[in-house]
C-alpha cells in the first residue's frame, strides 16, 4: 500500500495549519513572483538608449563616461497582484476520506498558496462561502495578515451549498488592481451554479483558477460492497451495491467532469483537479509547474 503523505498525517493529527503550510512552502521554494513591466526598481534588468522624454535622472552617468552615450538603466518593476481565495463551505466539503475532510484538505491547499503569495509580497484575501454564510478577509499584505488568514480557515462549519447569486461578493470587489481568484471547491454542484460567479470575474477582468478537490473513493467508487451513502447537501440516503452501480456511476461522473472542464476552461479560467489521497505538496508542485507562476 502506498505510504500516506506525511503532511496529511500531520493535518489529521491537528497540527497548526499555518505551521504546516509554512513547512510545505519551505519544501519547495519556488522563485519569487515578478511582474513583467520594466521600470524603476532595485534589481537591474537591462540598459536601453535614452529617448527624448525620458527622465534624465535615470541616465547612467558611469555608462555615459565609458561609452559617451546616454543609457537608461532599467530594473524589473515588482508588480502588485491580489490573490483572492474562495473556499467552498458547503455541506459536501464535509466528505471525509482517511480521517481528513475535504474542507481540511482545501484549507491546507489554501493556506499553502496563501503563504506562498504572502511571501512573494502579494496581497491575499479570503472568502469562506456557502448560501447562508460568508466569512471574508479583505486583501492585505504582511505576516500578521497571513496569521489572520490562516486563523479564519480554522473553526469553520460546512453546510448548505454554493450561493447562486454573487451579491456577497460585489461589495468587496476591487476593480482597480489585477487580481487572481483561486477557488477551492469540489465543484459538484453543477456548472450552472458557478455561472454568475464566472461572469462576474470576467466582467472585472480577473483570472480564475479553480482547484477541484475530489476524494479517491469518489473518483473510483471504492467503497464496501453493500453500503448506505448519504448526500451531504440533500441528506438523502441510498443503499447501494458498489459492484452493481460502479460502472454507471463512473460514466456519469466522468461525463460531468468532462462537461465541467470544457465549460470552465477559457483563456482566463482554469481548472485543476486534486485527489485527496495525493500529497498537498506534490499536487501543488504540479499545479504551479503548470501555471509556471502565480
Amino acid at each position: 500500500m502506498e505510504r500516506e503523505p506525511e503532511e496529511l498525517d500531520l493535518l489529521r493529527s491537528g497540527v497548526d495549519l499555518g505551521l504546516l503550510a509554512k513547512h510545505i512552502v519551505d519544501g519547495f521554494m519556488i522563485g519569487m513572483h515578478k511582474g513583467t513591466r520594466r521600470g524603476i526598481g532595485s534589481e537591474f534588468s537591462q540598459y536601453r538608449s535614452y529617448q527624448p522624454g525620458d527622465d534624465i535622472r535615470q541616465i547612467d552617468w558611469k555608462m555615459f563616461a565609458r561609452s559617451d552615450r546616454y543609457y537608461i538603466k532599467e530594473s524589473e518593476t515588482e508588480s502588485s497582484v491580489t490573490v483572492r481565495f474562495f473556499l467552498d463551505m458547503s455541506a459536501s466539503m464535509k466528505y471525509e476520506e482517511n480521517g481528513i475532510t475535504r474542507f481540511q484538505y482545501a484549507s491546507l491547499v489554501t493556506a499553502v498558496l496563501g503563504t506562498i503569495a504572502s511571501q512573494q509580497g502579494d496581497a491575499v484575501a479570503l472568502h469562506l462561502v456557502n448560501n447562508n454564510e460568508h466569512k471574508s478577509l479583505t486583501e492585505k499584505r504582511g505576516k500578521s495578515h497571513l496569521n489572520r488568514f490562516v486563523h479564519l480557515l480554522e473553526n469553520t462549519e460546512c453546510q448548505g451549498h454554493w450561493p447562486e447569486s454573487t451579491d456577497w461578493l460585489t461589495d468587496n470587489l476591487n476593480t482597480h488592481d489585477r487580481e487572481l481568484w483561486i477557488v477551492c471547491s469540489d465543484l459538484l454542484d453543477g456548472e450552472k451554479r458557478w455561472e454568475t460567479f464566472i461572469q462576474l470575474s470576467k466582467s472585472v477582468g480577473h483570472e480564475i483558477q479553480f482547484l477541484q478537490i475530489l476524494g479517491h473513493d469518489e473518483l473510483h467508487l471504492q467503497l464496501e460492497e453493500a453500503v448506505t451513502v448519504e448526500d451531504p447537501e440533500s441528506r438523502a440516503t441510498k443503499n447501494i451495491r458498489t459492484s452493481a452501480v460502479r460502472k454507471e456511476y463512473l460514466q456519469n461522473l466522468h461525463a460531468y467532469l468532462e462537461e465541467l472542464r470544457s465549460g470552465l476552461m477559457s483563456p482566463r479560467t482554469n481548472l485543476f483537479l486534486m485527489e485527496m489521497n495525493q500529497s498537498v505538496r506534490d499536487a501543488l508542485f504540479e499545479f504551479l509547474k503548470l501555471r509556471e507562476r502565480l
Partner: protein, 410 residues
C-alpha cells in the same frame, strides 16, 4: 466412500460461515457521506439486506470449499467396486486359510482357519471379508460358540446367514463307523487334545452314534486273492488289521476286493509288455496308479523323487504323467509296505473320511486388538485416497471464488 478420521466431519458445521459472511455483508452501517451522490444511478438500488441472486453461486462455492476442506481432513477414501461378488461363504477349516475360490453365480468360497477365528473372532473376520468384497449375502459355517465373538458387532450391509458347524469342535469327532460281524461297532474317531488332533479306531456303542450323521457301514470286508504273492497279502492284511476289518482269502480275479456295503473297490494286477503294472482301481475314480518297472540305473535324479536306493538311484518317483513309479523288482518287505499303503488309501476312501480334516492345530499367539487395528480399513489395493481429487477440486473452487469475488466487490 470411506472416511479415515470421521471426527473431522464436525468441521462441516463450518459451512454456515459463508452464509454468515454474506449476511454480514448485507448489514448496512452508518451512512457514508458521498459528495458525488447524484451520479449514482437511480434504478439499480436494492435493499442491502437481501441476498441477491448473483451472490448465491459465490456463497455456494464458498460452502463447497469448506466442505472439501472437511473431507480432506477427514481423509476420504474412494472404494473400488469389486465385481460380481453376490455371496460369500466363509467356511471354518482346521487347516490354514486358502485363497478365495470363485464359483459361478458370483459366489466366493473363503476358508478361514480355526486358529484365525480363535484369534480374531468372528466379527473381525466378517468385517474384513465384507470390507474387501462388499457382497450382498454372507454365509458363515463354523464354530459359533460364544468364545469366538468379541467386541462390538460391525455395521454390515450384507445379509448374514449363520450356519453353525458344532461337530468341528467337538472333542471327539466320529469320522466313520462300521459294524463288525458280532454286532459290535467300531469307529474312526478324531480326538482334540491339547497336543493336537489324533485319530484312533475304537469300539463304540451304537447309542453313541445315533445322533451322528455318519453312515454306518455294515460288515465291511476285504477279500484278497489266495493266489497272490505272500508279500502282497501280508501288506493288505496288515492295513486291514489296523482298522479291525475282517480279511478273507479267496481265489478271485483281482488282487484284492474291498466290500464296504454297497461300495466295492477292486485292486487289479495288470501286466504289460514293458513290465508288470499294478493298477489300483476303484469302481469310481481313484487317483493313484502304481507302476512297477524294471530296475534301471540310468534314471536321473530329479525333484519328484520320493525314495532313492543306494543313495543315488531313484527308487520310487513320480513321472511326468503324475504316475508313481516303482523302479525295478521290489523287495518283498518293501512290496508289503507298498500294498499296505495302497490298502490304507482304499479303506480311507471307502469310509469317505476326509483326510484333510486331520492336521494338527498349532498354538498361536493371540493378540486380537493389534490385529484388529492393523487390518481395519487398510487395504491399499482396493481403495484409493481421494486426496488428489479433493485437492484439485479445492484449487478449482478457490480459483472460481477468486474469480467471482473481486467482480462482486466482496
Amino acid at each position: 466412500m470411506i472416511l479415515g478420521t470421521p471426527m473431522w466431519l464436525w468441521l462441516s458445521l463450518a459451512v454456515v460461515i459463508p452464509v454468515l459472511v454474506h449476511l454480514w455483508n448485507k448489514r448496512s452501517g452508518r451512512p457514508r457521506l458521498l459528495g458525488t451522490f447524484r451520479f449514482l444511478p437511480e434504478e439499480s438500488f436494492a435493499s442491502a439486506k437481501r441476498i441477491e441472486l448473483h451472490e448465491i453461486p459465490l456463497m455456494l462455492v464458498r460452502m463447497l470449499i469448506v466442505l472439501l476442506l472437511t473431507l480432506l481432513l477427514a481423509g476420504l477414501f474412494i472404494k473400488d467396486e469389486v465385481d460380481g461378488v453376490e455371496q460369500i461363504i466363509i467356511s471354518e477349516t482346521l487347516n490354514g486359510e486358502s485363497e478365495p475360490e470363485h464359483m459361478e453365480g458370483g459366489t466366493s468360497l473363503i476358508s478361514v482357519s480355526s486358529a484365525e477365528i480363535k484369534q480374531k473372532g468372528w466379527w473381525n473376520v466378517l468385517e474384513q471379508i465384507e470390507y474387501r468384497q462388499q457382497p450382498e449375502k454372507i454365509t458363515i459355517r463354523g464354530d459359533l460358540s460364544e468364545a469366538n465373538f468379541r467386541g462390538a458387532r460391525p455395521a454390515s450391509n450384507a445379509v448374514i446367514d449363520w450356519q453353525p458347524l458344532d461337530s468341528l469342535y467337538k472333542d471327539e469327532l466320529i469320522l466313520a463307523v462300521w459294524e463288525l460281524s458280532n454286532e459290535q461297532y467300531q469307529a474312526l474317531i478324531q480326538h482334540r487334545t491339547d497336543a493336537g488332533i489324533q485319530t484312533f479306531v475304537e469300539e463304540i456303542e451304537l447309542s453313541e452314534i445315533q445322533n451322528n450323521e455318519v453312515e454306518v457301514v455294515e460288515e465291511p470286508r476285504i477279500i484278497v486273492n489266495s493266489e497272490n504273492e505272500e508279500a502282497v497279502n501280508i501288506g493288505l492284511e496288515f492295513a486291514a488289521s489296523g482298522w479291525g476289518i475282517k480279511v478273507e482269502e479267496q481265489p478271485i480275479e483281482e488282487l484284492a476286493r474291498l466290500e464296504f456295503g454297497e461300495r466295492i473297490f477292486r485292486l487289479v494286477y495288470e501286466t504289460e509288455e514293458q513290465g508288470a503294472e499294478d493298477v489300483v482301481e476303484a469302481n469310481s475314480t481313484f487317483g493313484v496308479s502304481l507302476f512297477v518297472k524294471e530296475m534301471r540305473a540310468d534314471v536321473q535324479p530329479h525333484k519328484e523323487i520320493i525314495v532313492t536306493r543306494n543313495a543315488h538311484i531313484p527308487f520310487i518317483y513320480v513321472d511326468n504323467n503324475g504316475s508313481m513309479i516303482v523302479n525295478g523288482i521290489v523287495e518283498k518287505e518293501l512290496q508289503s509296505w507298498i500294498y499296505a499303503g495302497i490298502a490304507q488309501q482304499l479303506i480311507t476312501e471307502a469310509f469317505e473320511v476326509d483326510e484333510f480334516l486331520t492336521p494338527e492345530l498349532s498354538e498361536t499367539q493371540r493378540d486380537p486388538a493389534a490385529i484388529t487395528s492393523r487390518e481395519r480399513g487398510s487395504n491399499p489395493a482396493e481403495q484409493r485416497s481421494a486426496r488428489l481429487w479433493l485437492t484439485g477440486l479445492l484449487a478449482f473452487c478457490w480459483l472460481a471464488e477468486r474469480w467471482m469475488a473481486p467482480g462482486r466487490g466482496m
